[in-house]
Symmetry: C2
Subunit: 106 residues, 2 copies
């Protein structure tokens, strides 16, 4: 029998990013399955990152979409999606690092 190989945490994470992107990019049948339309992007944000979006001004997601859409085609491709995930991970990591620094005495 073939040995079952358990993926590592990093491999699972890479698989997850691809699966999540495919899931939301494939929602609208009128839109390419390889990109997120504005509607698909909003569905992704409001479902997968609801804890981030729920306290935001409604214009924030519009501005995020515009900023992420580097080639201004009104769609987010996988690289543009990765930039979003990377930006959020970077922000979380910075906040985590700052919180774990010892407090300087006055």
């Amino acid at each position: 029998m073939a040995k079952k190989i358990t993926p590592t945490e990093t491999e699972r994470c890479i698989e997850s990013m691809i699966a999540v992107f495919q899931k939301y990019a494939g929602r609208e049948i009128t839109n390419s399955r390889n990109t997120l339309s504005k509607t698909e992007f909003l569905a992704f944000m409001n479902t997968e990152l609801a804890s981030f979006t729920q306290n935001q001004d409604p214009g924030v997601l519009d501005r995020m979409m515009k900023k992420l859409d580097l080639n201004s085609d009104g769609q987010l491709d996988f690289q543009e999606f990765l930039n979003l995930i990377g930006g959020l991970a970077q922000a979380c990591h910075a906040s985590f690092t700052a919180a774990s620094q010892p407090v300087k005495k006055m």
Copy 2:
């Protein structure tokens, strides 16, 4: 009692990337806990991405480290680490997309 909130797949993935980076960055006590030294990078690659590294020429990891180390300080910070994960995800996604394209008839 406080309601337990289950993280979404995307949130879990962001947490994983930070946890994995911290785990390997904190290995050597003589090196900063916020960056991966060459030794820590090799430990990460040979453990977390062993299925990728096992068939590679030994020089590949050296070249990868040099290419990822954008500011050439001999260390990988979290952003440089994210570029690696993003690059691998992009390569997997491209291969997945190509494999799911219908084969053109001659």
